[in-house]
Symmetry: C2
């Protein structure tokens, strides 16, 4: 691997027209395990490709990398637009780099196709971090279905970890369900909040606060410091109303300014405490196992549905039966049963 390979920002390279599958799977695996980010980036492109040939190779690469993954610390970061997610990720990322860590930054955004240029792909957004050699920034994979995007992102995490990245920061860019997906593929779920407003006014969906392991009131700059402290106290009180987490961890609320780099040490130390808590009780292994099984079942459901929807005979009968159900000349159950009979007759 040449030095120039190492230095080219992979998020730029991935935009070029490349032919990833002209390289052998063995080479990919070898280079990824050696930490070559150009090959890592190309392998992620294979994961994201719709071509069966690419998908096949991607799965082979993943199978070989899987035993070398799992050692990273996976942090999900969410919050409303305007809360300062990218500034926070820059600050936290640089902090980790200074500790000698290798940081991968990924995103989930089912709404914006990559071709349009995900915000994360914008170099100006994380200008400092994107210049760092030990950081790897990858925009959200394209896709309209959250399930598809989530799968690609989980597979990207595996490759990043196999390539030696020991801290994965996973940002939610989309709204709504993407937080749930990120929560289900990370070890720590961090929610960024603004000083002052309650979570409903901030556009935080109900249920998100309960999922958080660490809440950070960001933008606690001079004139908002008192407000941030009040907000911090309000959330601390509110968290008492929620049932305790299975892990036994009490969600913590910190305040700071990623922009001015204040309060970041405390946040770093809380992240550390959280992982110590998980590791002490073997909870990390259990959490990862539960997550793997969750996605296993999700994938089966999705794929079964897809297989059903793509069935020729089902497609031909669907429109009429749907209409009958909508007009209530068939009960939903009877309509479903008719379609399933058509499907099963052909498939059994």
């Amino acid at each position: 691997m040449s030095d120039s390979d190492r230095n080219i920002n992979p998020s730029l390279r991935s935009r070029k027209r490349i032919h990833p599958s002209s390289t052998s799977t063995e080479t990919y695996v070898e280079q990824i395990l050696a930490g070559n980010r150009t090959f890592l980036s190309r392998a992620i492109t294979l994961i994201e490709s719709q071509q069966p040939r690419h998908q096949e190779q991607a799965q082979a690469i993943l199978a070989a990398c899987l035993p070398h993954s799992g050692k990273g610390i996976r942090i999900g970061i969410t919050g409303s637009p305007g809360v300062g997610k990218s500034t926070f990720i820059e600050a936290l990322g640089q902090m980790l780099l200074q500790e000698g860590k290798q940081v991968g930054v990924l995103a989930i955004d089912p709404s914006s196709p990559m071709s349009k240029g995900s915000i994360l792909g914008d170099k100006t957004r994380m200008a400092k971090l994107s210049r760092e050699e030990k950081a790897f920034i990858r925009p959200s994979p394209a896709g309209t279905s959250l399930g598809g995007v989530a799968q690609k992102t989980r597979e990207t995490i595996i490759l990043c970890e196999a390539a030696g990245f020991d801290h994965i920061l996973l940002e939610t860019v989309g709204v709504g369900q993407s937080e749930v997906a990120v929560h289900a593929m990370t070890d720590l779920f961090l929610l960024l909040l603004l000083p002052g407003a309650g979570d409903e006014l901030q556009g935080i969906k109900r249920g998100i606060v309960e999922m958080a392991d660490l809440l950070v009131i960001n933008k606690a700059e001079a004139e908002r410091e008192q407000l941030a402290r009040d907000t911090q106290r309000a959330y601390r009180n509110a968290l008492h109303l929620y049932p305790p987490k299975d892990s036994g961890w009490t969600p913590q609320v910190a305040a700071g300014s990623a922009l001015n780099n204040t309060g970041m040490d405390k946040i770093r130390s809380l992240i550390h405490q959280y992982f110590e808590h998980l590791q002490k009780k073997d909870l990390l292994i259990r959490k990862r196992r539960e997550q793997a099984l969750f996605w296993f079942e999700e994938t089966i459901d999705q794929q079964l549905k897809l297989f059903f929807q793509r069935d020729q005979a089902v497609q031909e009968a669907m429109t009429k039966i749907r209409q009958q159900v909508a007009k209530e000349t068939l009960t939903p159950f009877q309509g479903a049963q008719k379609l399933l009979d058509i499907f099963l007759q052909k498939n059994t």
Copy 2:
């Protein structure tokens, strides 16, 4: 049909060992359409039966009754234990009976098998209503899966409407997801609340308040009247924070005491206003259509999953593959793919 048939409380009768399928489908349909509640009750027992022969007849009866259903007004009623749901249903039910309506009272409780005696089956719980000839009270169908219980309840609504019941009061007895199911099969979703405490302290799950079309602060008796008024105002203010409903209806907050029968006229009139609003804009038809399609898709998903889980080859391979996924020697996607290959190989 004899008079004695009409007068026997069907919720008692349904507990007896009966052999419903010795009666022809034609007789069932004829008697149900004539408003014979003994046959209605027996047909519901067929719906609830696990025997294929019974299920088949139940579906035939449903198909014949379906064109005669849909004219009822379906009201879902929810609230925490202790809020006074049964007293409220008694008061509202008797009010409707006095107007000359025919009232069916059903419940959804996936957690308590009917054999144990659902609370609703307890005559003392709705003593007045259960003595009324024009009221029909049926306990929640048995079942551990909410999907199954929900299907049976939706089918019971069809039969009740075909039998001439023009008001269906559907109570949630279980917690959690059953509110979502009841919301998806009723026209109006009514949430009962206690004076004083906020919804989180009352054990109301997040998301339930947003689903409500009508909130009733119950138990607003003398000493709690002021508190009830404060709570009413607090909820009115809180509701402004939620996005407007697709129907254009602004959720209303009323207060009253079902026990003392105060405030019930106002509540009755709000229910009336709500349905006028829906009917004026043809929203009821649209709502029902959306609900039918929702359950249609839900049923397909459930049945597909069931078919997959019951597959012999899938069952044989499942344990090992699940373990590999849990141990992360296979990615969730690879594990799912392996199982699906086994399933599809056999079924295509």
